[in-house]
């Protein structure tokens, strides 16, 4: 890497577009408002801000760029709002309702206000294709190509813009899907389509159909977006490689992303754990990490287990059960609507609630003065003195404390019979509890003991309760990286080119077809090597991780088991694999059944090609401004008292602070409202050791 080269990362959020610039291992952070109508303009704006700050022309800055990584919620938002291509779904005859029925599992049995959700592709755009393959891959009924030609005529008539194809057992025998593809090529040239077995070769027709439908529906839109992004950045002078962030915490070339746009759909939360992993390792050498990214509307929790970021195949766009499953591997993330904009309210029985409604950024919390009147978490933080009303978000906003007090007084304090400050504290306490709930849920599912993991906090709103959350979980250490306000964008600079491949070759350890499985594994490995070459690397640069998705017979949850080698070879290796499964089952679920055979549903391979040389830790350049002051703020048990305020930049290595203290940086405030200990870590993060003793109850009524 030439020393004057830059690496950039841009994360488009709902409110702000974050830019992180890396130069010689140092990071700088810029934020500019997102332009919802023209997100690329928002990117150009924040780039111009960086150029201004260096006093150079934009083209000059962009000419030094080695790589530009980009995470966008564009695809996600398009799916959520239904603003996608007019897409048709081609399915096996007799099974038109695959997308409608989903997988059952109503979430709220007593809530009859939620209507049954629409299918991703309506039935009127669903067409049945005669032809049937069995689970053994036998063609029981041949495909009727003439019927497909007739379907194509209807699709033309209906002005369909994209086509998804998912036929039963195409993962075992793809002949029928391929036959449909050749008819589509001939009859509907130029109309993009997605074949389920190519995109997502996994068992369960709903998941595969949903992947294919979402992917096809995004192709026209995302191709246009990526083309526009690329050409406008090039026109502005951008040199270097343009990369897109994927749902599995890696990056890929923008051109490849346009070909399978679904792989970028959950890119939003996928990068925070990459950064969290790096900082937890650099500051404390930890490999079990809880990463909490607190934004304006949601609180996203991700994990690192033994240095790996666990993924899931059951990620939903929208709510579980009523949204649409992506069906593809995605970083496992638990999101709750507990952000700065979450609204606090008291029900008719006198019980306090926070969320799920959010004031968002428009109209926003009462203190924003943009027309919002509801009492939000941000209002509570302001009333408690945790936010500086004059320098919110790097001084771009002034907050109205009186409006916040009025909202909390009216909506919370009065009905609960509390003082305004106590009401504000109650809001934060309940918010903390909701965050803890999200963390407990995902750590439980992934078999991680939260008390033994390091917690990493990121996002603009992280600092308000991160210490309280860590203390509630019994965490020993909390790390708040200096780039925390743009943790995801920073993560994109630390990630690798990645790809995930899978093969559906069911197997069971008491009747294991070693040659067949080994052949499938060899095929997966070959695809990883080919990937490395395709992205411009060499075969020896790629790291291939092979794994099985396995379970006990009759279970419905698969666990991911890393394989010890590239092939099984003999029965002893199969026995070792079964042992590995039992151990992982114990780790995650607390029990194992050592006498039972182990069933493998599918085999997978992850390819990783590093983008950077030796991984030096990326640290943030601290803004050199500010001095130690103090402000009136709330400390539980003491009330409103003078609390020291320290700009982050004034902290020096080796200095140890004991709370209460407020730590301020341009984009976030870290609230230490108790006696927790604060230090500066070797890589520039704030490292906090939460107090351990059980808090004395505050004066009760």
């Amino acid at each position: 890497m030439a020393s004057d080269q830059l690496r950039l990362s841009v994360d488009i959020g709902g409110t702000f577009t974050d830019l992180v610039v890396e130069e010689r291992g140092e990071l700088r952070l810029f934020k500019s408002p997102t332009d919802p109508d023209d997100p690329v303009q928002g990117i150009l704006d924040v780039l111009a801000m960086a150029a201004d700050s260096d006093g150079v022309a934009l083209a000059e800055l962009l000419g030094r760029v080695e790589s530009f990584s980009h995470a966008t919620t564009r695809g996600l938002n398009a799916v959520l709002t239904g603003n996608v291509a007019r897409t048709a779904f081609l399915t096996t005859a007799g099974h038109p309702d695959v997308l409608l029925l989903r997988e059952g599992g109503r979430q709220k049995p007593f809530d009859f206000t939620v209507p049954f959700p629409d299918p991703y592709v309506p039935r009127r755009l669903t067409f049945e294709v005669p032809g049937r393959i069995t689970s053994a891959g036998e063609i029981r009924e041949p495909i009727d190509a003439q019927a497909v030609v007739e379907v194509c005529a209807k699709l033309r008539e209906l002005e369909v813009e994209a086509v998804a194809v998912c036929l039963l057992w195409s993962t075992i025998e793809p002949a029928h899907e391929l036959a449909v593809a050749s008819v589509l090529d001939r009859e509907l040239p130029g109309i993009p389509y997605t074949l389920s077995h190519r995109l997502n070769p996994s068992l369960r027709e709903y998941r595969r159909a949903s992947s294919a439908a979402i992917d096809a529906s995004l192709k026209p839109l995302m191709s246009r977006y990526i083309d526009g992004l690329t050409s406008r950045l090039r026109a502005a002078g951008l040199a270097g490689r343009i990369l897109m962030v994927t749902s599995v915490g890696g990056v890929m070339d923008a051109g490849d992303a346009a070909g399978a746009p679904i792989v970028t759909i959950n890119s939003g939360p996928s990068m925070a754990p990459v950064a969290g992993r790096a900082y937890a390792a650099a500051e404390l050498g930890a490999d079990a990490v809880i990463v909490a990214d607190a934004g304006g509307t949601t609180y996203d929790v991700t994990l690192v287990r033994r240095g790996e970021i666990p993924s899931t195949r059951t990620a939903w766009v929208g709510d579980e059960g009523t949204g649409h499953m992506t069906g593809l591997p995605s970083i496992d993330v638990k999101s709750v609507g507990a952000g700065g904009g979450s609204i606090a309210w008291v029900d008719s029985g006198g019980l306090l609630h926070v969320g799920p409604q959010s004031a968002g950024s428009i109209p926003g919390p009462a203190c924003y003065g943009r027309g919002g009147t509801a009492a939000t978490v941000t209002d509570a933080a302001l009333v408690l003195g945790y936010l500086d009303p004059t320098s919110f978000s790097n001084g771009t906003m002034t907050l109205d404390t009186d409006a916040a007090r009025a909202a909390i007084g009216r909506d919370i304090a009065a009905p609960l019979g509390l003082e305004i400050v106590d009401a504000a504290h109650a809001i934060l306490e309940l918010t903390t509890e909701q965050m803890v709930r999200a963390i407990e849920e995902i750590t439980l599912q992934q078999g991680i003991d939260p008390a033994r993991a390091v917690m990493v906090g990121g996002g603009g709103a992280a600092g308000i309760n991160a210490v309280a959350v860590a203390r509630r979980l019994g965490s020993e250490r909390l790390v708040l990286p200096a780039v925390g306000a743009a943790l995801a964008a920073a993560g994109a600079l630390m990630s690798d080119l990645t790809a995930v491949y899978s093969a559906t070759v069911p197997a069971i350890t008491d009747a294991f077809d070693i040659p067949r499985v080994d052949e499938a594994l060899a095929g997966l490995r070959e695809r990883c090597l080919a990937f490395a070459e395709r992205v411009g690397g060499t075969r020896d640069q790629v790291t291939v991780t092979l794994f099985a998705e396995a379970r006990y017979p009759q279970q419905i949850w698969e666990l991911e088991v890393p394989l010890r080698s590239h092939a099984f070879g003999d029965a002893a290796a199969v026995a070792r694999f079964a042992e590995d499964f039992h151990a992982i089952h114990t780790e995650i679920l607390g029990i194992s059944d050592d006498r039972s055979p182990v069933e493998v549903v599918s085999w997978g391979a992850r390819a990783r090609v590093p983008l950077r040389g030796e991984t030096e830790i990326l640290s943030a350049r601290a803004p050199r401004s500010g001095e130690a002051t103090s402000r009136r703020a709330f400390v539980p048990g003491m009330g409103i008292v003078d609390v020291p305020v320290r700009p982050l930049a004034t902290l020096s290595a080796g200095e140890v602070l004991d709370g209460p203290v407020l730590l301020e940086s341009p984009f976030t405030t870290i609230v230490v409202a108790d006696a927790s200990r604060v230090e500066l870590g070797p890589a520039g993060s704030i490292v906090i050791t939460p107090v351990r003793e059980i808090p004395a109850r505050e004066a009760a009524a």
């Binding site: 599992g105 809530d111 039935r123 039963l168 419905i556």
Partner: protein
């Protein structure tokens, strides 16, 4: 804007902020119990059908906190079970665990194995009870099914009954009890796996409560329990006070069944008294117990009535002993939907009659006033949800037996929405998962030829019921037996407030020539190679007059192929063509 002066507001006696935080903590404990059970359970009925529940009870036996589970499990039974434990074991010790599946002592039915663990503090004081319950793949019945509709009595049913039997003492197994189970339960290994999962779940709940008490103290937890139940009761009282006053009677009829050739007629009287904040449900005017497994247990009678009530009102009211105080359910001894007298069999107490009871309660609620209650949810265990068995020649001809969940019954229309398509039945509340065709074809040698919604089978209404599904499957390279116990083929699911009934369910065999032959409503059915079983599940009832349905919703149903243009015209009085274009003037004329 100025804030209200808190001094002018009457401060409530409870601390609503503290209550909120602690209720989150209790919820988290139940969720943790459920998660453990769901993910470590082995049998398909536990992990696929999610047929299990977890809850926390007060020491006195009041249901304090429940989690997400099939509603039939958790409302009016755990309190009876805890009361039995307290009665039989006046001295409870840390380390105790009790197995309970007796329908005569508060359990739902014999196939639901419950574990109760008393949470006892360091001074030996019983503070709470945790309960985990899961449906078993087998419970030692005389035939290999857990739903033995034809059982004359509990002896013929044959299930092992555990009326609160200690299975752990000082945290150690009472191994003799477990060995007994292993001698009488058909899949002992799988049962043992599920038993461990249930016990593990209860122990996790116990440990979490002990930790919470260490943090905040037992006194605070007891205060919380009292206040949480009071809060819930007040929410329920407020919800009832907002309802119209009135009384209604509704009746229904379960289809004829083995040993019950005329079926079972049922009726209920429901009274809503807003002035007292009370709802009364009277199920006493019903037949005596029948010589069949259809009898409800006391737990399922009460729970079915409670589900009907809670489905009918504000869904955000918590479900616990506090809100239950506002519903009085009158039951009679030796009544088919009351309190069974031993040895009456309750083998299918969680499905067939339970669904009928809940359905008439919610329909009676609807009769009392618009905007509440619901129509009837599809009911019956169709061949689309059969236990299929036979020999699998793909794997050396070994036996296979498994319950498949390929096609649920339709949900009911209600005041706010149309019926839920994959509702399955009232007792499950739609929580069951639906099988993947590929998974079913992989697990057993069958081919699922067809699974799609059946047009025009919805109960028409202002909010229509969900349609039934058509499912067609058959053996592949073998023969199979399908055990099922349907309902709704003769007496379909009624609508409410002028809504129409859903279409009846049906079961047929398609023979080798493609001809359909009607099958009995209650299996087993033998299906040979080349033959197929054809199931039509029950459509849900509609709510309100179909001629008042939003024409745009009717047009959408037509466009999407749920309803034909002819039915739209005749039943909904909307003129719409197959592409969904509404003829406005013709519609106005039709609706005049």
């Amino acid at each position: 804007m100025t804030a209200l002066d808190p001094a002018t507001v009457v401060a409530p006696e409870r601390d609503g902020a503290r209550l909120a935080v602690l209720s989150h903590r209790f919820e988290a404990i139940v969720r943790r119990m459920s998660n453990t059970l769901a993910r470590s359970g082995r049998s398909g009925v536990l992990n696929t059908a999610r047929d299990f529940s977890c809850c926390i009870l007060t020491a006195e036996g009041g249901v304090l906190m429940t989690g997400q589970s099939p509603p039939i499990h958790v409302m009016g039974g755990p309190d009876l079970q805890a009361a039995s434990m307290n009665e039989f074991y006046p001295e409870l010790h840390a380390g105790d665990a009790f197995l309970h599946n007796s329908p005569y002592h508060g359990n739902t039915h014999a196939a639901d194995h419950s574990i109760l663990v008393p949470v006892v503090d360091a001074d030996g004081v019983h503070r709470f009870t945790v309960l985990a319950k899961a449906h078993q793949a087998d419970c030692g019945n005389s035939v290999p099914t857990t739903y033995m509709a034809s059982a004359l009595d509990v002896y013929e049913e044959g299930a092992l009954i555990f009326p609160v039997v200690r299975v752990q003492k000082d945290y150690e197994d009472c191994a003799d009890i477990l060995r007994m189970c292993e001698m009488r339960i058909r899949v002992p290994h799988q049962w043992r796996g599920d038993y461990l999962a249930i016990l593990g779940s209860a122990r996790i709940g116990e440990r979490a409560l002990l930790q919470l008490a260490e943090e905040v103290g037992w006194d605070e937890l007891e205060t919380f329990s009292r206040e949480w139940l009071d809060y819930s009761e007040e929410r329920m009282e407020a919800a009832i006070r907002a309802l119209p006053a009135g009384a209604a009677t509704a009746s229904t009829h379960h289809d004829p069944f083995p040993r019950v050739p005329d079926g079972v007629p049922l009726r209920v009287s429901v009274t809503v008294s807003p002035e007292h904040g009370m709802i009364e449900v009277d199920l006493r005017d019903n037949p005596d117990c029948v010589p069949s497994g259809l009898n409800l247990s006391e737990a399922s009678s009460r729970t079915a009535a409670l589900i009907g009530v809670f489905n009918s009102i504000d869904g955000t009211v918590p479900h616990n002993q506090g809100s239950f105080r506002r519903v009085r359910v009158h039951l009679r001894e030796n009544c088919v939907v009351g309190i069974p007298r031993h040895p009456a069999s309750c083998s299918v107490a969680t499905t067939n009659l339970a669904n009928r009871v809940g359905n008439i309660v919610q329909r009676a609620m609807a009769d009392i006033g618009d905007g509440m209650g619901m129509a009837e949810v599809g009911s019956g265990m169709s061949p689309s949800e059969a236990v299929v068995s036979g020999r699998d020649h793909r794997f050396g001809g070994g036996p296979f037996v498994n319950q498949i969940f390929t096609g649920p019954n339709g949900g009911a229309g209600g005041p706010s929405t149309d019926g839920w398509l994959t509702m399955s039945d009232l007792g499950s509340g739609g929580t069951l998962l639906l099988d993947s065709v590929e998974i079913d074809e992989l697990k057993q040698p069958i081919l699922i030829h067809r699974r799609e919604i059946a047009p025009d089978t919805e109960g028409a209404g202002r909010h229509r019921g969900a349609p039934g599904l058509d499912v067609e499957y058959g053996p592949l390279g073998t023969a199979l037996e399908a055990i099922y116990a349907n309902d709704g083929s003769i007496n379909p699911m009624a609508g409410a407030r002028g809504g129409w009934s859903g279409a009846p369910s049906g079961q047929f065999k398609r023979d080798r020539d493609g001809e359909l032959v009607r099958l009995d409503i209650c299996g087993p059915a033998q299906i040979d190679e080349g033959e197929r079983i054809v199931a039509r599940t029950s459509g849900g009832g509609g709510y309100g007059d179909p001629a008042t349905r939003d024409p745009l919703a009717v047009a959408r149903d037509v466009r999407e192929g749920w309803v034909t243009p002819a039915r739209a015209r005749e039943v909904y009085r909307v003129a719409v063509d197959v592409s969904g274009e509404i003829d406005e003037s013709a519609t106005r004329a039709l609706r005049r």
